[in-house]
Symmetry: C2
DNA sequence: CGCCACCTTGAGTTTACTCAAGTTTTGTGG
DNA sequence: CCACAAAACTTGAGTAAACTCAAGGTGGCG
């Protein structure tokens, strides 16, 4: 289960994070948050907010996927972050959002007003976990964008859709001889993937075809890829 | 003056950020932080911590510049962030640092233990401003790495060293006919710049030579560049 | 069943990379 | 202050990876 602000009970995160340098800790009482946050739904490709809009709300993704992107004046687009279940968006340092947020699939959100946020210590601590996690993801993505080949980028992207694999010191298949296989749902078009990975749509398509030819994946639907050899894909990410 | 945790007085940020969706607000009392944080000095190229080290401290840069980078196993390096005066480093979601931190110049830091951080509301609010600012910088840098040409990357880098210029809706020279000129100190070698911009050292060198030939900059020392036409450089960043 | 959006593939080009000298700068010691 | 060495930087020539442009194919939905 996704540890989440909207969860009914206060879940223990375990103690392994107690020494980490983060900001604040759950106070042990999140009653103020239990029923906070009003629901909001988006259809695929609805825009939640535009870059430059006044930043007055925070959102938590309950179901679905949202992408955040920036545009250059000539139309070049970079998808800077993909927000999944349990993660948040709408952070801003200044008064305006620095990115546009658009739903990739039908999405359910919880909405928090800026003032609600300030009044809940539990919420602030949850938000901080999100911020710190996003920072680490952004660092990792900078490595991908700055230093990885097209093949490595696509492999890394596919691995990011396989839970509990592909991290530092990849664990390998849970059990040796177990089937090292998984179907992942992209929930992005080739163009959106390209804009996320800093490639063109043609390059993404060519790499996917190459992985198919090599027998590492099967494309079930355009949106759904069966990875027939997770370790094989992981070897291509550049992290080994 | 840099708004800073180690500042003696509590500075008002003005009210323009009051509506921004951030986390927490200064409480109006930062007495707990006034004298907190012990001093630490680094020489240029000293490593403050390595990726994977236990994350037990936060640091604030008082003087100098620190770079954060990640390495791939084959030696490729990506500089993911440059920490300047008033900014912080050492954040971590899990128990270990996700990047290596190395001083680019002689540097003076303030060190905060994880437990100190948790006990100060003022500090948490300051840290949050840093986190939110870093997120926006990382978004912008993702655009650079994913979508900009070598020339645009170097121009963007140079503009980032010119205070109060190059932002969205560039203000232009403060006064028309005023000299649109500035000397910037890189405090990075060509290799470090290349690793920050996702280029090779040769490409950085060629772009700098090209800007020199075009009369937009003069290289005073390897480390120090006089921009003779700030607007001209700004036009090359891709944001216009 | 046909349309529209999306995806794939090919051919040719371009940008940035690699490899290889050479040059300049910086720092050190005489 | 000069000589030297080491590090850093520049430049050139050739290559390779990814891009652009242009068809053509596929699949999902009315």
């Amino acid at each position: 289960m996704v540890h989440s602000l909207h969860a009914n009970g206060l879940e223990s995160d375990g103690s392994h994070e107690d020494n980490a340098v983060g900001v604040g800790q759950p106070t042990g009482s999140n009653s103020a948050m239990r029923n906070a946050g009003r629901k909001h739904k988006l259809n695929a490709h609805d825009v939640l907010f535009y870059e430059g809009d006044k930043a007055e709300r925070l959102y938590e993704v309950v179901h679905g996927v949202v992408m955040m992107y920036k545009l250059l004046p000539d139309g070049r687009r970079q998808v800077v972050y993909i927000v999944r279940e349990g993660d948040m968006l709408g952070f801003s340092k200044e008064e305006n959002y620095d990115c546009t947020a658009e739903a990739l699939s039908d999405t359910e959100l919880l909405v928090y007003e800026a003032r609600e946020v300030a009044s809940s210590a539990y919420m602030q601590s949850y938000i901080n976990k999100c911020l710190l996690g996003q920072m680490e993801n952004l660092h990792e993505h900078a490595v991908l964008l700055g230093r990885k080949s097209a093949l490595e980028r696509v492999a890394t992207f596919l691995m990011s859709l396989v839970p509990n694999r592909g991290g530092t010191g990849c664990e390998g298949p849970p059990e040796p001889e177990a089937d090292d296989t998984r179907t992942v749902v992209l929930s992005m078009t080739r163009q959106e993937i390209a804009d996320y990975l800093g490639l063109t749509i043609e390059t993404v398509s060519r790499v996917v075809s190459q992985l198919k030819k090599r027998g590492l994946i099967k494309v079930e639907k355009q949106d759904s890829i069966h990875i027939t050899n997770i370790c094989g894909i992981c070897q291509l990410t550049g992290i080994h």
